[in-house]
Amino acid sequence: MVSDLTDEQIVELAIGENPDAFGEIVNRWERKIFALCFGMLCREDEAKDAAQETFIAAFKNLSRFRGDAKVSSWLHRIAVNQCLTRKRREKTRSESFYDESDSTEEKVFKAPSRLSPSGLAEQDERVKAVRTAVNSLPLELKQVIIMKEFEEMTFQEISDVMELPLSTVKSRLYTALKQLRMKLVRKPLEVL
């Protein structure tokens, strides 16, 4: 059974006689990769395309997978690069990649409806403030915070993906949290 194999064994299988085995890799990681892309890009359509391209790029470059890193780290690295490429592309078009004013219309994910209207409004405000604060972070800090908070990756995994020393990852995460705190303090939040 392919599902019993490790990621690395599946990749070996996909490189060899059974390319379709890569489908199991997609099943295992699509949710996390999509979440990472969404955290980085904050737009569902962009995140969907980035996730799709991540897996296609991974499949096309399977033969280049050296095996000295985990498949998950490799996939995350491709996903981060895809997101960065998209951000750069957006930047060159001189468009705001994330426009706060129309983000609520573009957002596909809906809030749970168990809250009262006033509670929903407060939650919307709170989420909006956090989203704006995270998006205003420098890219290298944003990557770390998204991987940690959205993906719940360990420091070591982030270090592998970003090819950074462990201490640098910790330092960036600390800096990111401090900067977020500064940004959120300016906008009073109930949670703080």
Partner: protein
């Protein structure tokens, strides 16, 4: 041990704690057991670190709240891998069209990953190189020029290169012919514009220009003309200096003769 030493001297000049970066490890529960115990002991005595921890915890919870909100109805998009078409290619675009761009299509058009196309492309390249080499060797410095040079080395000859067929006479000799059909000197050939130039001399040149005909073939004819050595005592007759060799390669100027030039100069002097 390192942490203990660090903890003993953790106070910074600005009142913060140098231990504070370890807060993130504690916050995300990524400390070893002994490190965790040491840090918890530090929290009891440090003024800055507990505040730092509570603040960063609140920020982290805010982000998690945002994540839960955004991903509440999280639905993973359907990821389609074009297995057959994508295998072995390093192209970053999606052949299925999700993000296919014109550059991606162009790359696929010239994709040489096929085992059939690679040798075909190699053979094509080789043929092009050989063709260019052949043109350089035989085309630019090819047979006609060599024939003209060879003929020009022979004394008492005027080399005429013409684009129209021209019968050979007693005083002419064919040294080159690009006409695919064999030229029969015995066959009665119609007089052409260029023949008129050869026979009648420069006086008919302008008339010949008016009846210029389309390019038919390229023939190289050597006209044998005796040299008449001018006497020192005799006045120089410019019309009788045919010994210069003229090799005209461009059909645009094939009516030009140096003898014409000398003739004109002689007329001017008269």
């Amino acid at each position: 041990m390192t942490m203990v030493i660090k903890m003993l001297d953790s106070k910074k000049s600005d009142g913060s704690c140098s231990f504070s970066e370890e807060v993130v490890s504690y916050l995300y529960n990524e400390m070893k057991a002994d490190e965790k115990k040491t840090f918890e002991d530090h929290l009891k005595v440090c003024e800055a670190c507990p505040n730092e921890l509570s603040t960063l915890t609140a920020v982290s919870e805010s982000i998690q709240g945002w994540r839960d909100y955004e991903l509440a109805d999280f639905s993973v998009p359907e990821i389609t891998i074009p297995y057959r078409r994508a295998a072995g290619s390093s192209d970053q675009t999606d052949p299925g069209g999700v993000s296919a761009s014109w550059i991606g299509n162009l790359r696929r058009m010239f994709d040489l990953s096929s085992s059939f196309l690679k040798p075909a492309a190699a053979l094509g390249g080789l043929a092009i190189i050989i063709g260019i080499g052949w043109i350089l060797i035989n085309g630019l410095n090819g047979g006609d020029d060599k024939a003209i040079e060879k003929a020009a080395d022979r004394p008492n000859k005027v080399v005429i290169k013409t684009d129209v067929e021209q019968p050979l006479t007693d005083d002419t000799e064919l040294v080159g012919n690009e006409n695919p059909e064999p030229f029969d000197p015995g066959k009665d050939q119609p007089e052409t514009a260029e023949t008129a130039v050869v026979k009648n001399g420069p006086s008919d040149r302008q008339r010949a220009q008016k009846v210029r005909r389309p390019r038919v073939s390229k023939r190289i004819v050597v006209k044998k003309t005796p040299i008449k050595q001018p006497s020192v005592a005799e006045p120089l007759n410019f019309e009788e200096i045919p010994t210069l060799t003229v090799a005209i390669q461009d059909s645009e100027y094939d009516e030009l003769r140096l003898s014409d030039l000398f003739s004109e100069i002689g007329n001017d002097k008269e």
